[in-house]
Symmetry: C2
């Protein structure tokens, strides 16, 4: 019998189905016991229908259980994976609307180093509460289980569970994979310098020609990268090619190629998330000395986020995923994807394994389970990447405890780890560079602490403290007004008590 | 031969004369060699005239030297005490004016947890530079000397010298003595509870009746206090009476007596600095769980400082020393005091020891020198206090290095110390309470780091980063405008280069 793997909020069907695919494809996890838990009947039916059809069609010897009872699901689990988002994403849009009516553009949740539209910190009361409840269930019913937190805010939730409970916890985010962008920069530069070839337009449009050329020119073994920081504020602190500092390639790219790249990119980009080398990323590199990786690009200060026009200047035509445009596109995509999966799951005229063939997700989570459960040590995993199979380092979020010596011990850091049957162990140690510490880590940690205080301890003043330092605050009455507007939403009755 | 004691910026005549009085009165320091250094001829003449008249009249066997040559003064020194403020206090008022013209009320230097009008951080370029130069002189010419920093910003300057140089450094501030206010609270409560006596009006006006009663009711040995924090953000973390937590007396005072106290105080207060128990102090206690001590009351967030009316609500009729009113009063007092000292120093018709009789200053600095130089261990010193002589604990600012375990090692903390010939040693260890850590220490340390980065490393962006999170910033142009306005002041030619 294999591990008991529990999905909380399993109705996040796209994500769950991608991880299920990884499990189905892993020879050593095919005898797992899968528990799908969600409070929404329709969504639970959708994901369990999907899972059971695969199992049946592909003759996988796996039990699939569906339940609305969280404790039952968690009981005796080896792994608990949660993507649960209580009250749904539109609830947060209501709070954003209420905020904007009182002068807080993009909502009171959007502040320095966290402008990500669905990274709910200060207004995440129900979310923080649910994760504490899940963790308490794990303490009671599966004390040895690993709890993988996939829901944002990964930084705050992982820190909270790590501090407040005895649960084995790791926060999961694939943002760190954004480091591939500097390898593309390297390819663009080497193609030009060595072969007089301009692949910038291919790379700016993410065409196969870029990646093919990249793999012809670069042996990925010659590239060494290391990222340091917190979830969504993680930076490329090491970038070497053939043993030498390779940031010089980025410097030359900025000088000679960036304008061309951006002009093609502005003309063709098809996704608000297509930001790895956008003007904001490069400006942050110039300002803080290191390239921001993955979703970190979406952070920064109000310099990049003042209004839609500012966002479009720094993040391209959609203003990034966190502008009013990008946010609407995100919602539209979520809806379309669920619709699409539902169509296939319930269309019994075609085998599900044909309409949605299993393919690796690129997520790290199944490697973690395989390593922990089956005792296979790993510090990297194979993913499809740059038009081929490559090994990527395993990065997860765990409590710092000295990994980055100039950050507090009890904050979750996103770090390269080695995983084996005894647990998850950070590999890279050291310090976060001075400028990042001062201008990124300190403000971000401050906000994380304030969000935790607000959601765990409550009291109206914890909201006031959040807003009295907000650049959008024009007067004291505005603070009271926006707090009232948010707490008076019908959904926020309980939350209003917490903050009274 | 006794120690060589050097005053840099000795022309801060009132302060220097008070410390000289302590030296003259200390039997074991009467053979000191005094060096007075200032770049201003008039001020140097003033303080050296004063010092030499005392020495002559009182037949003190002390050499008094006056010089404009800093290196000469420092050479072979045992103690270097600096109150130097390059360009004078009116220079900073010009920057405040330029800021206010661009919408930054009280100047860009005034931000969360530092609203003190003469605590110059972000715009202290010349000040930070001078202190580095003094420290380099000490490294070169008096490597074993102790450097006592009396000039604000004590937090930033002490941290800077501690980090960047090899000099023995301590930051000196008497703000911690503000803890007496809770002893007055204790007296008001005990007088009422035990003897049915109302001494609130006496205490609100700081009349002798209050202190006489206090000493009748309370044996000061029964009171134990401890403060924790950084300079100007230090909090009463322990307050015990007869071995029991005494914060309950403050709670009852707030419930039953505060209104009466405030009403008398508002009617009679004669000083903008009379703030130990003002409404802001009590509101901070309610918000953060501990009473702010000394100048810490002047901190807080914009909640207390939004405009003059807000300041007057929280700090009384003058709006505290940092309002436009209080600031003008401060300048007036500085001018009057210098004028007064000059009158006496140059009036040879009366012995100076009669017109300005020597009396102890209440400052800790001479105790430090006596302990360090003469090997007399001490963790407290005698001061006139509450209408009598009491022993107060010695608090100074030194690099943390684990004293407060949840603060970074390389930030200067204000802490109780024991002093002996081997150095200055922190006594009280432990952690800063959670809420203070989150809402006070993190934001204050962030600003300290930003000020150090700006003044040590420069670059226009270090000013931009300061302002992009400022609640007074209304648009991006305003940031550029205020930076330009400040850097275009004729005095700021060099500073403008540093920040270009």
């Amino acid at each position: 019998m294999g591990p008991k793997i529990v999905f909380i909020g399993a109705g996040s069907a796209r994500w769950t189905s991608r991880i299920l695919a990884d499990i189905f494809l892993n020879e050593d996890l095919r005898d797992s016991e899968i528990w799908l838990m969600d409070i929404d009947d329709y969504r639970l039916n959708l994901i369990s229908t999907l899972a059971r059809r695969y199992v049946k069609e592909l003759k996988i010897p796996m039990e699939v259980h569906a339940t609305k009872d969280r404790a039952e699901a968690i009981k005796g689990a080896d792994f608990v994976i949660s993507t649960a988002l209580p009250k749904g994403y539109m609830y947060y849009e209501k709070m954003r609307d209420a905020s904007e009516e009182h002068g807080y553009y993009r909502g009171i949740n959007s502040v320095e180093w966290n402008y990500v539209g669905d990274y709910h910190t200060i207004w995440g009361y129900y979310l923080f509460k649910l994760y504490m409840e899940i963790a308490r269930d794990i303490e009671d019913f599966a004390p040895d289980a690993w709890f993988f937190i996939v829901s944002n805010p990964v930084l705050e939730l992982t820190t909270m569970i790590g501090r407040e409970t005895k649960v084995n916890v790791a926060g999961i985010c694939h943002g760190f994979l954004g480091y591939r962008s500097v390898i593309e920069v390297l390819a663009m530069r080497l193609a030009k310098e060595k072969f007089g070839k301009n692949i910038i337009p291919h790379c700016a449009t993410h065409r196969a020609e870029c990646y093919d050329e990249l793999r012809r020119i670069i042996n990925l073994e010659d590239v060494e990268v290391e990222m340091k920081g917190l979830n969504h504020v993680i930076w490329l602190t090491k970038f070497e090619y053939k043993g030498e500092d390779a940031y010089k390639y980025l410097d030359n790219w900025i000088k000679e190629d960036a304008e061309e790249y951006w002009s093609v990119w502005r003309e063709h980009t098809m996704s608000p998330w297509d930001l790895d080398l956008c003007p904001a990323a490069i400006d942050m590199y110039k300002t803080y000395g290191y390239l921001p990786i993955g979703d970190s690009v979406r952070g920064g200060t109000w310099k990049y986020h003042w209004d839609l026009r500012t966002k479009q200047y720094w993040y391209g035509p959609y203003g990034g995923p966190d502008s009013e445009i990008g946010c609407a596109i995100r919602i539209l995509q979520v809806r379309r994807r669920i619709e699409e999966i539902a169509r296939m799951a319930f269309d019994r005229s075609r085998p599900i394994s044909q309409s949605m063939p299993l393919k690796p997700s690129g997520e790290v989570i199944v490697t973690l389970m395989d390593s922990l459960y089956n005792g296979k040590p790993a510090d990297s995993y194979e993913i499809s990447f740059l038009s081929g199979q490559v090994r990527a380092p395993i990065y997860v979020n765990i409590l710092n405890n000295g990994t980055i010596s100039n950050l507090p011990d009890d904050i979750a850091v996103e770090t390269h780890v080695r995983v084996d049957s005894s647990g998850i162990h950070p590999i890279s140690r050291g310090t976060i560079p001075d400028k990042l510490y001062k201008y990124v880590m300190l403000p971000r940690i401050t906000r994380a602490e304030w969000a935790l205080e607000a959601n765990l301890r409550g009291g109206r003043d914890t909201l006031f403290q959040w807003l009295i330092v907000d650049v959008r605050t024009r007067n004291m009455k505005q603070i009271d007004d926006v707090i009232n507007a948010i707490l008076e939403l019908p959904e926020n009755k309980e939350m209003a008590k917490h903050f009274s």
